[in-house]
């Protein structure tokens, strides 16, 4: 019983990490109809930004966090303006190929700038153990991450569904021409979409740097771990990303606890396959989404 509870609670930070990276996939897809396979690398580079500002430059945690998130927002905006915007309207396959190329380029750039060594970032609460009822143990940082991600994803969901910006984002993605006729600045909305998605990914990168360390391989590890969660939940649903991340992380965790670590991927992705057979667009994805 204790193992089940500990697994359940212990996997929540992993689920939060998947969700934070995954929500970037959703926001970019909903806002620009682009499947961004560079999302994991954007998370890694956000983590490296924080490392450079906080550790190398010695700037305290909170100002460093703000500065690194601003830098990440700028990076996301620049990527859209310089690389994606001129290609808007092109085939989905071309845009996917572009993000795959971007993923490779960002990986090479990260390796050049930060080297191959593992870099660690310090976050408050990382070494503060909390003892919950039922002998459940978790760090204060883990609790903070879960709470923060829950708040952020709720805010994202509210923004996308009910805010004026969310409406403009949906309009810009579904029919850019019509949105322009209605006075929506599609370029600005899409640029902001990429900036927001990159900020979310960067927060995941910083958390990952505090709990596991930042290494060049971490970018793809994060991206490839989060993408199935998004597919499970539905490519265009923030709530789906959260629930998909939760299901995937918990299924993997329970597979490890009761079957062994080597079964984590088999069981996790087996569940993903089964769900996709029954719900081809994911648990909460819109039916009209075309699969590639």
């Amino acid at each position: 019983m204790h193992l089940a509870l500990q697994t359940l609670v212990g996997q929540l930070p992993t689920a939060a990490l998947y969700a934070l990276v995954g929500v970037g996939f959703v926001i970019v897809y909903r806002g620009t109809q682009v499947l961004n396979f560079a999302q994991g690398l954007l998370a890694l580079i956000g983590g490296y930004f924080f490392y450079s500002i906080a550790i190398s430059e010695g700037i305290p945690f909170w100002p460093a966090l703000v500065l690194s998130l601003i830098a990440s927002a700028l990076l996301g905006a620049l990527i859209y303006v310089l690389m994606l915007r001129p290609l808007m309207g092109q085939s989905a396959l071309l845009l996917v190929m572009l993000t795959i190329a971007l993923n490779i380029v960002l990986g090479a750039v990260a390796l050049m700038l930060w080297g191959g060594a593992t870099h660690f970032v310090k976050a408050p609460g990382a070494k503060v153990d909390l003892h919950l009822p039922g002998q459940i143990r978790i760090t204060a940082l883990d609790v903070a991450v879960v709470v923060l991600v829950a708040i952020l994803l709720t805010a994202f969901a509210i923004m996308l569904r009910w805010s004026s910006f969310g409406s403009r984002m949906r309009a810009a993605a579904e029919n850019p021409l019509l949105a322009t006729y209605r006075g929506i600045n599609v370029g600005t909305v899409s640029t902001a979409t990429w900036a927001i998605a990159t900020v979310g990914a960067s927060m995941a990168g910083i958390i990952y740097g505090a709990t596991n360390g930042l290494a060049p391989s971490a970018g793809n590890a994060l991206g490839f771990a989060a993408f199935p969660a998004v597919v499970l939940g539905g490519l265009d649903s923030v709530g789906g990303a959260l629930i998909g991340a939760g299901i995937l992380a918990e299924v993997q965790g329970f597979a490890v606890s009761y079957l062994g670590g080597k079964y984590a991927d088999v069981v996790g992705y087996g569940v993903l396959l089964l769900v996709l057979i029954v719900y081809p667009t994911g648990l909460f994805g819109s039916k009209e989404i075309a699969r590639l």
Partner: protein
Amino acid sequence: MKAQRKSGEHKDRGRTKKRTLAALPILVAVFALLAASCSSSSSSSSTAKPQAAKGGSYVVGSTGDLSGPAAAVGGALRDGYEAYFSYVNSHGGIDGHKVKLISLDDASNPTTGVANTKQLTEIDHVNAELVFLSTVLVAAAPVLESTKTPTISQGITTSLLQPVNPYMFAGDIVIGDEAAPVVNFAATKVTVPHPRVAIFSLQVADNANYVAKAEQLIKAKGWDLVNYQQVPMSATTAAPEATAIASSKPDLVIMALPEPWVISAVQSLRQQGFKGPIVNYDGGSAYSTLKTLADPNFYVVRPFPYYVKGQPSPGPEFTKFVAAAKAISVDPNRAFLINGYVQAWVLGHALAQCGYPCAGPKLASTLAHLHLNTEGLTYGNWSYSPNNHVGIHEIRFVHWDVSTSEPVPASGLLPIGS
């Protein structure tokens, strides 16, 4: 009609212009990719111009992962080779002969590794090759043997050492050989006569032999193996496996986890209340790992010392290593840097003993009889023999000293493989 044609041409030109503009970002991405790959291969080109040997130079080739999933280790090894050969060249070369280092990137892909090896052996005619990954080495071994190219490898496998292959030499401890010292050392750290033991390993083929030997030794000692967890390479964290291990209430954890998984594994075990000793193999023994964990009850196998600022150097060769690393602006404690440096150092000494010119069979024979006093570069000395192509025979266990905030030895010199 004419006006319509003009309008049509204008539209065509417009579309062409639009298509050209649309292609620009792709071109930018492609150029950036090319620039990145050029930069990654040229970073070693101060000593690494891809040219054949001429003017009395030795030529050493390397293939390793510089841009793929294991680039962190591959880049550090390459920097280690470069640090040594740059140092040697700046001090007059090996008996007056400079060394050209040609570093190629295989991105962990055996097919690319074989192509690199063919280029290095058949076009660049290298005197010797340094290979990082076992998968690449196994694929490239037939080429290296047919071209009689002596090879020192970080990731050599037991199958290439037993029976002895005349051209294959180990550049580090063979993972399987670490099991005995790890289990024997762990026995000195447990306080109960029949401890409950858990094994915690990365799910890779290279670790299978280590785990199998550890299981045998645990059984032979009458200990109780209560849990065995493998972390998949795709895992972002080893925390769930750590939870499973902690729940089995072990007294001791024997580990074979490299960075970055070792961090989340140890942190999660401690967080779950496991207070016993954790003994890891040398693959997860980076200075930054010990410093981050700052855990005095976490022990690692080390064949090489760490650089501790302000402390006396373990020997003159280690002092040279620190100077060489700093000369190329690399932290001497970067994980796997010293491994690459030592492999190049061993090869450099073999080339010096072989003389100039040095053909492959002669160099292989020289390596097979090489005995070196490493003067602080490794904990024990380095010696190959015709029957044993593993150069390291002694290691120490090291852990973090919380009072000095530095890594310190936790054991004397211990034999490996026994």
